[in-house]
């Protein structure tokens, strides 16, 4: 797919709780190109998810809409990057979730 614009990656390694919140907040504030921000997190219930929820809760007024999706996998990301220009966040998020679920298969 090539290099994507409007994409930030952040690691929690070595960051305290408050540091991670402000680092994520800063990234979200930098993303001003679209009408919203999607935060992908690996695991539900983790400190990364809590951080994403806290930052998402600050969205209001001038801040963009923020969605949080857990269980991130490559099919989800591929769907997200191919459809984000054409769909509003309200339709994109369920589509991405569905794609992620479809991407988990067992072969035997």
């Amino acid at each position: 797919m090539g290099k994507q614009e409007g994409l930030s990656v952040i690691s929690n390694a070595g960051l305290g709780k408050e540091e991670l919140i402000s680092a994520l907040q800063k990234k979200v504030d930098q993303e001003t190109s679209g009408d919203g921000v999607v935060i992908f997190v690996d695991m539900f219930g983790t400190s990364c998810w809590q951080t994403a929820k806290k930052v998402a809760a600050t969205a209001s007024g001038s801040r963009p809409e923020i969605a949080v999706i857990t269980g991130v996998n490559l099919p989800m990301l591929a769907k997200f990057f191919t459809r984000r220009a054409s769909l509003p966040l309200s339709q994109l998020v369920p589509l991405v979730k569905q794609e992620g679920e479809k991407g988990i298969r067992t072969e035997s």
């Binding site: 070595g14 709780k17 695991m43 219930g45």
Partner: protein, 162 residues
């Protein structure tokens, strides 16, 4: 059944605790003791959402948490106590809670911090509080996840230059 674990971890309920310590200790009750979280419905819900369905959880302010422990309020349960700072351990000890050892997980102080371990950066105030805990005869054992190497915090403090 006595309390299985007293843990200091600024992230309180999260993956290391639920998955890591949950599988190792097989606890079925999480007791989150923190004044701010207990007062904030939004934060309460956030932490409670992180609890797997097979576990029970309760969130209490420090005074109520200490009182409940003193009344053997978790009798018959496999309970772990989570606090986010050594100061709350001291407050519970001052209320009369008997603690043999404290597990020290992640603490990353924001200011004036001294790096003790990759997951442990303490301010002078926090070091002082942990030293008071240690001098009260409570062992402070640093271990973020059950299979990690265990470090005795008092020995780590001995290596720090004043």
């Amino acid at each position: 059944m006595p309390i299985l674990l007293y843990r200091v971890d600024e992230r309180l309920i999260h993956g290391q605790v639920v998955v890591g310590w949950g599988n190792s200790l097989k606890f079925d009750r999480i007791v989150l003791i923190n004044d701010q979280v207990a007062q904030n419905p939004w934060e309460r819900d956030l932490y409670l959402a992180c609890v797997p369905p097979e576990m029970k959880a309760i969130i209490l302010p420090v005074d109520d948490g200490a009182a409940k422990i003193l009344q053997n309020g978790f009798e018959g349960e496999r309970a772990v106590i989570l606090v986010d700072s050594p100061f709350d351990i001291l407050r519970m000890v001052e209320k009369g809670v008997k603690i043999d050892s404290v597990n020290v997980g992640g603490v990353h102080s924001k200011r004036n911090r001294v790096k003790i371990l990759p997951y442990l950066c303490l301010s002078p105030e926090e070091i002082f509080a942990f030293k008071r805990i240690i001098s009260a005869g409570i062992k402070c054992e640093c271990r973020d996840v059950p299979l990690a190497e265990e470090h005795d915090l008092s020995l780590l403090f001995d290596k720090l230059r004043p």
